[in-house]
């Protein structure tokens, strides 16, 4: 077992355990905090996949911004815990069945698809490659995304503003 495999299994465990805690914790604050190892684990997977730029963005936006935002909203709404309130709805058994079944099915598909040998090497300096891709062939996606950000900023302000 080499170092890469070791790192992968450690990160995968971190991601999945974190994920289970996110969906399972009764305490919402715990759930939100559990989001942090999950997202960090995903960032670690990105490192293993040579996606340095995506890693940086993952940490900045997900771990840094979104998690904090979620914590804030929890504090603003239900109080710190919400422990006195039922956290699950009535379709838990059905959901377990569907999610489990879907996961099993997809894993089965994974096993049956011949993925072929790894393709060529990654570009040596891939933040640069990402930048070129973003600003040349995918500039439309880039611009549309920026437009969506603007719209959601405005939308969030309008929605969350306290009405006089």
């Amino acid at each position: 077992m080499n170092a890469e495999a070791l790192a992968f299994y450690a990160l995968a465990a971190m991601v999945l355990v974190g994920g289970v805690l996110v969906v399972q914790s009764r305490n919402l604050v715990h759930a939100a905090v559990s989001l942090v190892p999950t997202l960090l684990g995903v960032a670690g997977l990105y490192v293993l996949l040579h996606a340095e730029f995506v890693t940086a963005i993952q940490i900045l936006i997900y771990v840094g911004a979104i998690t904090v935002l979620i914590l804030f909203v929890i504090l603003l709404t239900e109080g710190a815990t919400g422990l006195r309130v039922r956290q699950r709805n009535e379709q838990v058994p059905l959901a377990l069945l569907v999610c489990g079944g879907l996961a099993v099915l997809l894993l089965g598909v994974l096993g049956r698809v011949p993925w072929g040998p790894p393709a060529g090497p990654m570009p040596p300096y891939n933040p640069g490659a990402v930048g070129r891709s973003l600003l040349m062939p995918y500039v439309l996606a880039f611009e549309v995304a920026s437009l969506v950000i603007l719209a959601s900023l405005v939308g969030a302000i309008v929605i969350a503003r306290r009405e006089k």
């Binding site: 239900e78 490659a129 929605i159």
Partner: protein, 102 residues
Amino acid sequence: MIGLSHYLVVSTLLFALGLYGVLTRRNAVAILMGIELMLNAANVNFVAFTKFVDPTFVRGHVAALVVITLAACEAVVGLALVINAYRHLETVNVDQVDLMKG
């Protein structure tokens, strides 16, 4: 050797977890967290496919970045909606927010 399918297994499981969270949670914020898990699972897929299938133009990274961006937008708007709903309906439990029912 860690191959593509290892990453795909992790992402599949993460996706299923997220979906489970979305399906079973009553609290809107918790549902949003489930959605974030699902989006992360998709991103892992994108980045893994980039490495193993289509490395030349790092198209998967671009897709992942766009998804992260949109996830941020979605979180902002979603949480704004939660705050607004809480202000008006005094609850963030989605089974009590059933104005869609005819």
